[in-house]
Chain length 141, copies 2
């Protein structure tokens, strides 16, 4: 939920004694409303379209805050491009990617999730998060 994420961001700001500013608000709003997987560049484009006066440094800085607060997460589709994903958008999910056409399906499997927790526990870890990307060839390719 977008509202939930926004609240989390505000809480993070006050916890860290950071200020609520117009720029931060706008960037977060845009990020939360946008497509799943954004590069820095794509985000900056949209932000600039809404408010020409916002500097690129601010976008970098805000993106950092978003990751620190757990609202954004970096994902790797194996193409050496860093993308940011909204972790609140559709809850947690993993990725199934076609290496021919680039098709990207979001998946979620409770059995795997359970196994992941078990493995972590076996090594004495408390699992906090994970990423998983499956690469294959889809039936259309």
């Amino acid at each position: 939920m977008t509202i939930e994420a926004k609240e989390r961001f505000d809480q993070y700001l006050s916890k860290k004694n950071l200020k609520k500013t117009h720029q931060r608000g706008l960037i977060v709003d845009i990020f939360l409303k946008s497509a799943k997987h954004l590069t820095y560049e794509e985000l900056y484009e949209v932000v600039k379209a809404k408010d020409k006066t916002i500097g690129l440094t601010t976008v970098y800085r805000t993106l950092k805050l978003l990751t620190e607060s757990g609202i954004a997460k970096t994902v790797d589709f194996g193409d050496r491009v860093i993308r940011y994903e909204n972790t609140f958008c559709s809850g947690h999910h993993d990725h199934l990617i076609c290496i021919r056409c680039g098709k990207n399906i979001e998946i979620l499997d409770e059995n795997i999730e359970k196994l992941q927790r078990e493995i972590a526990n076996r090594y004495g870890f408390t699992l906090k998060d994970h990423t998983m990307s499956l690469y294959g060839i889809c039936n259309e390719c």
Copy 2:
């Protein structure tokens, strides 16, 4: 196995009509002998130490060949740094990472691997590869 990987690289070169050169050989050897997860920078440092005359562009190019030939794979530990991993070093494996101390354990679970193939098939995909990273807090932290 290092030898196996080296062979694969040589095969890749001849298949693509690329030449075997001293530089490529050296870079591949170093990459295969090195620690699991190298950044471009780390690799270049070691290469330069062995042979001062090798240019940085050549390292970039060879790293590209390594990924194309399937010997290297990019991995994301969630810190916006692209690392290259030797896929032959200890065969396929996933990662369990402590978000406090950075400890990095290689894991492999046949049940998960099987589930991954099943999920991919369910969506009409033929699974070729995958990455999985579990983030948590280890018992020492």
